[in-house]
């Protein structure tokens, strides 16, 4: 399983991009997207997915 970003709610602040331990998040056409292949839900790195923990918009980084 992986996480995705709900584009309509994203504020495009970019905090998730530099918190992601897998470098799975990048800017594509003015919007951040999560590479589902690289995303590990932060298992083995942190207790909670970093994108979810840092995102200022509720329910914007969600499981696919």
């Amino acid at each position: 399983m992986a996480y995705k970003i709900v584009a309509s709610q994203c504020s495009v602040c970019g905090a998730c991009e530099f918190e992601c331990p897998n470098v799975a998040i990048s800017m594509k056409r003015d919007m951040y997207v999560i590479d589902a292949v690289k995303c590990t839900q932060c298992e083995g790195h942190f207790d909670t997915p970093q994108c979810v923990s840092v995102c200022p918009m509720p329910d914007t980084c969600v499981p696919v």
């Binding site: 504020s11 905090a15 918190e19 942190f46 923990s53 200022p56 918009m57």
Partner: protein
């Protein structure tokens, strides 16, 4: 060019009489304001030299110098109940709001463009729209690119403090001499009502624990800055019923830890902004409540009263925002820095300032001779330069001064929702709102006013005069005061 004292204006005559001969008819622009009212005489020379060109740290400097913010740091590590960073409106002026986010390279082009066109520019700040210390790579890269091109620009950041202790050494290395920390509490129980969560060391914290960590990091950051001699300003948002009384304690605590300046700002709370406080009906303070709290803090850390709560992409003097003139689509692809205008302007300001200081000293002497206990509030329409040089109908804000026999003191500004005169004719509905804005003011001094608005103001009990057009603010106020309340004959000045 709609700036406050244009370079042309300053390079020509600097006496008020000469200015009256050649009145400028530039378009609507507003005056200025963010700092200490302390001038050259009140501070050690070493400190004065560091703040004299910084509009936010020196009330006097804010009449002459401009700042710009570049919105390169959108990411934030905390959530505040007064902030909604999704909101973006070019008509809105408040911290955290921007119209476009910039890369460090774009920011550099923007700074150079502004430096070439706005000679008053002295300070580059990064104030978000997120947190400059958290979104650090972009902050650092921007400063390093700009400092290479414009070595004499002052670099300045604003932060919530959570990531600050990790960045202090690099701030020193980059010659960042001014740091602002937003501190709204020193008691986590109060913090819990302001901050729903923080993100720290890869974990989201909520409740008391979040505010405890934030508080400790803020105090640690402030102490580290003080130890390294960096001038630190503390911003506090006054939230009635939550931290209003508590800010007196905050003032004492930050003073104890070496803060140079304390800026107590009113909460901006509007449901349309979509912030938690806006949506839940938390109100902001009234003018009178803010002033009462600021007055109660007198004697503690120096208070800044000229803050305009500017946007994270503001450009210009504090009371004006020229950001819309410098959006990305208007910037050249390639641009070289041309220091000539900034240098010429500085020479003029150096001269003009000596004049202004002498005028202020005269004003203080004049008032000292006044035979009265009266204290009056005077509203000034100014485009900067410390002079009464704006048409009443063009003023987007009024600077408010208090005059008594103790002297003339700047105490704040009043914003006019929409400039009352849009293109030359006044509308009654807006004039009514200007009159409400001027509640409690005894007299308004401006460079010119029409008969009709003048009559309406006077029937509302507010006097207006354009007799002192282009004079220094303090000179005009002191002359008015002594004329009204009398001066001892031997001290009357020519």
């Amino acid at each position: 060019m709609a700036n406050f004292v244009s370079l042309d204006n300053l390079l020509t005559p600097t006496s008020a009489d000469a200015m009256r001969e050649t009145p400028k008819t530039s378009g609507c622009s507003s005056s200025t304001s963010c700092g200490s009212s302390a001038g050259a005489g009140d501070l050690p020379p070493e400190v004065w030299n560091r703040i004299k060109d910084h509009p936010c740290y020196s009330e006097e400097a804010h009449h002459y110098f401009a700042r710009m913010h570049v919105a390169v740091a959108p990411a934030c590590n905390i959530q505040c109940h007064y902030c909604n960073r999704k909101y973006d409106c070019s008509n809105e002026s408040r911290p955290g709001v921007v119209s476009e986010k910039l890369t460090p390279e774009q920011a550099m082009r923007k700074v150079i463009t502004v430096a070439n066109e706005v000679p008053q520019l002295s300070v580059l700040g990064i104030a978000g729209p997120g947190d400059a210390c958290y979104d650090w790579k972009k902050t650092k890269e921007t400063f390093s690119l700009v400092a290479k091109q414009i070595p004499d620009i002052k670099l300045c950041i604003s932060t919530n403090g959570l990531a600050l202790p990790d960045r202090v050494d690099e701030l020193v290395d980059m010659n960042v001499d001014h740091v602002t920390i937003t501190i709204n509490m020193v008691d986590p129980a109060i913090g819990a009502k302001i901050y729903p969560w923080i993100f720290y060391k890869n974990k989201r914290y909520t409740g008391l624990e979040a505010s405890q960590i934030l508080h400790e990091r803020q105090m640690q950051g402030l102490e580290m800055l003080t130890a390294r001699g960096i001038l630190t300003k503390i911003n506090s948002v006054m939230i009635p019923g939550i931290n209003d009384e508590h800010l007196k304690v905050v003032n004492a605590e930050v003073k104890k830890r070496g803060a140079f300046l304390h800026n107590i700002m009113p909460l901006i709370s509007d449901p349309a902004h979509g912030t938690h406080f806006g949506l839940t009906g938390q109100r902001g303070p009234k003018h009178s409540e803010l002033k009462a709290l600021q007055d109660a803090c007198a004697g503690g850390a120096n208070l800044m009263r000229h803050c305009r709560q500017c946007r994270a992409d503001a450009v210009g003097l504090l009371g004006e925002d020229r950001g819309q003139e410098f959006t990305m689509d208007q910037l050249p692809e390639e641009i070289a820095y041309d220091p000539s205008k900034r240098h010429a302007y500085r020479e003029v300001v150096a001269r003009e300032r000596n004049d202004h200081v002498a005028a202020k000293q005269d004003a203080t002497l004049t008032l000292g001779s006044a035979d009265s206990d009266a204290s009056i509030l005077v509203a000034i329409a100014t485009k900067g330069g410390g002079r009464i040089n704006q048409h009443f109908g063009h003023a987007k804000e009024f600077q408010v001064y208090e005059a008594s026999s103790a002297g003339v003191a700047f105490i704040g500004h009043r914003k006019v929702d929409d400039a009352y005169c849009q293109g030359g004719f006044g509308e009654d509905a807006t004039l009514d709102s200007v009159i409400r804005t001027l509640d409690g003011i005894d007299i308004v001094l401006c460079s010119k006013i029409g008969d009709c608005p003048k009559d309406q103001l006077e029937s509302a009990g507010i006097r207006v005069s354009d007799e002192w057009a282009y004079e220094y603010i303090e000179s005009a106020i002191s002359t008015h005061y002594t004329r009204e309340y009398g001066a001892l004959p031997q001290a009357r000045r020519a």
